[in-house]
Structures are given as structure tokens and as C-alpha cells.
Symmetry: C2
Subunit: 184 residues, 2 copies
Amino acid sequence: MTDELHPIIPLDSRRTWDCPWYGVRQDRIRLPDGAEGVYNVLEIPDAVWIVPVTAGGEIVLLCHYRYPLQTWIWELPSGSVGPDREDPLATARRELREEAGGTAADWRHLMTVATMKGIGTERAHLFLARGVILGATEHEPAEVMRIHPLPAAQVLQMARAGQIGDAISVLALLLAEPVLNGSS
Amino acid sequence: MTDELHPIIPLDSRRTWDCPWYGVRQDRIRLPDGAEGVYNVLEIPDAVWIVPVTAGGEIVLLCHYRYPLQTWIWELPSGSVGPDREDPLATARRELREEAGGTAADWRHLMTVATMKGIGTERAHLFLARGVILGATEHEPAEVMRIHPLPAAQVLQMARAGQIGDAISVLALLLAEPVLNGSS
């Protein structure tokens, strides 16, 4: 029987597809009306996004070639929480270091929120990193990106104007805005 | 050879998994350093999200049971662009009607932005719908949701406080905020 808290009940489950980064779990389910159905769940690790702000008041953007979109987009540093690395803040520190060569004096959690509500399990952990100092990066061959520190006001304007190509990066920037403006 | 505009080149491609809503395309690729690799691309239709505002100044939220997350979340009406229904605004009108029983006097496009940059093809088309009138809904059995019109100021506060569980809904609300406040 379904209940108020969990109105869709899993009956059984099998793995139908996998790659090293995510996979698909196919569940047979019971719906609230008693009917049976199938639900495909994309099982994907949580991820982090970082708004890196330098002491000079610049936000560190990446211009990243995104193969699924076949284009370069502006975005924030981001990356997946590893299976052996469960703490999102530790992941954020690692991704800032690997993608932008950055370390930060001060970290602030902005929000944790689901990114694929109807399809998959991923949650995004959004962080503001201040006092960022840039150094050498550790990009993998498939990570085709360039680092562009730009004045914070310009980046926030780009975010509102639709010039940042990644939705969660735009969200993180809009959440950081009142903090950077000193009103939160 | 790779070039500046498209530094990752597809060599060949095969479909490795499918369900009625999305699928996985596995491409053999050439990276900028000349090495070959594999990229799995989630091929998924674009989707729309709607910020529906009634004449009385309420934003129409859904409390939706999301099976992949095993929980109820607050979110905006949203849905996929059908293969035969390419216009995002037409999709938004249909989803507002199906999910909230709503029709709107006035539509405004807020942003179009990629939601799964490193993984898949989905782009979100975000709309503000004003002068919304609610009526009868057309939910499918697997769509377990309730409709809650709430004062706009309360919903915007919920969005900033992390009480809206879907990232793209939070983004759409933050983009609608200055428009609703008359400053954009």
C-alpha cells in the first residue's frame, strides 16, 4: 500500500545501464491508484558549484567547451562528489584547486538543492569562496577550459543577462549576489 | 583535427540505452591532445519552467512527490517539450494548463539555459506567466502533486531560504523577482 509520505512504492529494481560516472536504475513501482509502472532513475553522485571571489573583487569564471552542447559556455568551477569523498566542502576545495588552481580563505555554503527532480538523484551543493588566490591548474585531457577572472559586478550582470550558459552557475551567482553586496 | 571552435571531435556514435523520455548516445571522440576517448551524452528534450502569478499576486507552487528523490518538494510547474511540439512557449502554456489548470493573460521569457552541461543536452526555457486563472488539472497517475498558490513575497523568501527543492525553480523565481518588483 502507498502512504502519504511515500505515495509511489518501489516493488523491485535492476540496473539497466552504467558508465564510470553514472547509471540507470529501472524500478517497477506501484502508483497511488494501485496500478504498476516503471520508473527509470538516473543514479548520479551529488555535485558542487563554487562562486570563487578573489581579494581584488573578481569572480573566477571558466570558459568551458561542453561536448554534449557542442559549444563553449561561461560557467563556474564545478564537479562531482567522489564515492570516497563524501564531504561536499572537501569536494569544493578540490574542484577549485583542480579547475582554477585556486585556494580560498573563507568558505560559505549557499544552498543544497536537487538538479534533476523527475529524472535523477543529483543534488547541487553551492558554495561561495572568498579570498581566492589562483595558481596552477590540474585539468584532465577531456576538460577543455580557460580561466577568466572578471569584475564581480560584470559577472552578476552577465548572469542576469543570460550570458552564463549553465543554469546552476547562474543560480549560485544570484544567491551569492546579496552576500557580496553585504545585504545578507 | 580538432579546432578552436570544436576542440572535441565526434568520430562515431551509437545508442546504448533508451526509455520513452530520454536515452544515452555513446560517442567515440578525439580530444585536443589527439587521444581518443568515449563520451556518453544523455539525449533529453528541452524543458520549460513557469513562474505563474495570479491577478491576486500569488505564485502558484506545486508540492510534488519526486520518486528519484523519495520525497515531496516544492517546485514550479514544469515539463518537457514534446517531439512534435517544438515551441517552448506552447509547451509552457500546455504544462501550466495540465499541472495547475492554469491559463495566463501575459507571458514573458526569462532565460534559456543548459541544465546538464557535462552530461546531457537539456536546456531549460524559463517563463513568467502573469494574470493566471486556475481551473481543473489533467494529472497523469505518476504525477503526484498538489497545487498551492502562496503570496509572491513568501515564495521568493522560500526560494532564498532553500525551501524550494528544485534548482531550476529557484533560478526562475530569482529571475522573476526584479520583474515582479517592477525593477526590470
